[in-house]
């Protein structure tokens, strides 16, 4: 029980600490020459980091056998969505001045915006159905629905990669970690088992 509380506290601080850091920078006026860009990058970076943390919970359970990672997964997922909303809102308010025609134009013309917006829609659906009530109502389909986190994460990582001018190091780091985390989910045992069976089949006859 105490261990679960520790995990929960850790998950909450993973969301609250960057939020506090961001607010601190705003209050101290330490956003640099381009504050809007600072907020956009800050919220974007933390969306990706929290998303990776969320996706790390299943591998963590597989590696440690603990159940707590799965029980704090929703907290991390909702913090991811919160940062994504702040990210999207900053763009809507300061880049577009709430102009829906400009949003429509960006969605059609700018692929990285299209990708990011799609990821937001997917995570919106997941956030709305994250309650126990929806879990019960959707039964097994809930798990299928929540697998949408995989395409959403890929869209988010590619969204970042697509917008940088020349230095792709950081977006590629995020993308690589994501691919490793997704790789954990492949049914390796079954794949390896089949290979071993095939190998032995070749030797035996």
């Amino acid at each position: 029980m105490i261990r679960l509380w520790a995990w929960r506290a850790a998950a909450w601080s993973l969301g609250l600490l960057p939020l506090a850091l961001g607010l601190k920078s705003i209050l101290q006026g330490r956003l640099g020459a381009n504050p809007v860009e600072f907020v956009e990058h800050f919220t974007g970076d933390w969306t990706l980091r929290l998303l990776l943390a969320t996706l790390a919970m299943t591998p963590l359970r597989m590696l440690t056998g603990l159940t707590e990672p799965i029980r704090v997964r929703r907290i991390l997922g909702l913090w991811t969505f919160a940062f994504l909303c702040l990210h999207f809102l900053t763009y809507l308010v300061f880049d577009l001045s709430f102009s829906m025609t400009q949003l429509a134009e960006d969605l059609v013309k700018r692929t990285y915006i299209t990708l990011g917006f799609t990821a937001w829609l997917l995570l919106l659906a997941l956030a709305l159905t994250s309650t126990v009530g929806w879990q019960r109502r959707l039964k097994r389909r809930w798990i299928t629905l929540h697998r949408l986190i995989y395409p959403a994460a890929l869209l988010g990582a590619i969204h970042y990669l697509w917008l940088v001018k020349a230095d792709t190091r950081e977006p590629l780091i995020y993308l690589s970690i994501l691919l490793v985390l997704l790789g954990f989910r492949l049914p390796w045992q079954r794949l390896m088992g089949r290979q071993r069976a095939r190998a032995s089949a070749k030797v035996d006859p």
């Binding site: 607010l23 601190k24 705003i26 209050l27 101290q28 006026g29 330490r30 640099g32 020459a33 381009n34 504050p35 809007v36 860009e37 300061f94 880049d95 001045s97 134009e105 960006d106 013309k109 700018r110 692929t111 990285y112 697509w162 917008l163 001018k165 020349a166 230095d167 190091r169």
Partner: protein
């Protein structure tokens, strides 16, 4: 002596917020931010001050021209802490941290190619007899942010004519210093070093084309391209090449770094043009440093006097 140069400018003076009001708005926002409960939690620290760069040598400025339609000049701290100078790192604040390694003395520029008087010139020999002028120009980056900066320097044409370009000189190519020791970040090969830029000869000889050696009345800070750089206010910022070590007059159009890197995204001309988008983002608007909302981008960045250089050219094709 202060000479006001009459300058055709598409924004009415009445549309520009007076500096007093503008400054007060920022003070209000700052105080509003302070008043919030959270302030007590973290304590207030003033924004980073100008720093040691203010001790750079002052320059003798013979005349001053305001050529940004009276718009508010961007604070020194912003112009020197928000830079694209990839030789010192790709994040905006990297150059202000890393450019201290650049040695700007001794410094000479090699000039050769299609000219009668090729050679090399030491920066101090260039500057000692030279009457310097200040020009306040708008600066528009291809990334859709902008600023207004008071440069000190000389018309590029005055510099180029010393070397007597021949009739074969149709273009001028420029090169930035490339030194792994002073610029360790170049080991990563984000761009194809050395950084290279170029202009058509008539663009280079245009009275607006400027060779800057100073900023805010003092010697250029390293991160802004010391000891000498181009300032081409009607083109996207990356055309204004920094820390120049080589100039070459050429008959053919030279290869330029960003165009070589992504030809569909960065053209040779790269004139500021709100009607021609970057393939990945719009160029119709820009964010002026110090402002929260975006403003409209002006054709040729609000310098219509350069339009005659491009008469008859399809600016969508020659972007």
């Amino acid at each position: 002596m202060l000479i006001k140069v009459a300058h055709p400018f598409p924004i009415k003076p009445s549309e520009i917020t007076p500096e007093v009001v503008h400054a007060d708005r920022r003070r209000f926002l700052r105080q509003a931010g302070l008043a919030t409960a959270g302030a007590a939690l973290f304590g207030y620290g003033p924004a980073k001050s100008v720093g040691a760069e203010a001790e750079l040598a002052p320059l003798n400025v013979a005349r001053k021209s305001e050529m940004a339609g009276g718009e508010t000049v961007t604070p020194y701290a912003d112009i020197t802490h928000y830079n694209n100078y990839y030789e010192f790192g790709t994040a905006k604040e990297d150059p202000s941290r890393n450019a201290g390694r650049l040695r700007t003395r001794p410094w000479s520029v090699v000039v050769d190619g299609e000219c009668e008087a090729p050679g090399h010139i030491d920066i101090d020999d260039l500057l000692k007899p030279q009457a310097l002028e200040e020009r306040i120009y708008r600066h528009r980056c291809v990334e859709a942010w902008s600023m207004v900066a008071p440069w000190v320097g000389l018309p590029l044409a005055d510099f180029l004519k010393r070397f007597r370009p021949t009739s074969k000189a149709k273009y001028v190519a420029f090169e930035t210093l490339y030194d792994r020791q002073q610029m360790p970040e170049t080991a990563r090969g984000v761009l194809d070093w050395p950084y290279r830029e170029g202009l058509r000869i008539d663009e280079a000889m245009h009275p607006l084309a400027f060779l800057s050696v100073g900023l805010y009345g003092r010697v250029l800070p390293n991160q802004d391209g010391a000891p000498l750089r181009l300032t081409l206010p009607w083109k996207y910022g990356f055309k204004s090449i920094k820390s120049i070590v080589r100039v070459r007059f050429m008959e053919r159009q030279p290869e330029v770094t960003w165009n070589k890197m992504a030809p569909d995204e960065y053209g040779f001309y790269s004139n500021v043009n709100p009607a021609v988008d970057h393939p990945r983002w719009s160029q119709a608007q820009e964010r002026r440093l110090g402002e929260l909302f975006k403003r409209k981008t002006l054709m040729f960045n609000g310098y219509p006097e350069v339009a005659s250089l491009y008469t008859g050219m399809d600016l969508r094709r020659f972007f």
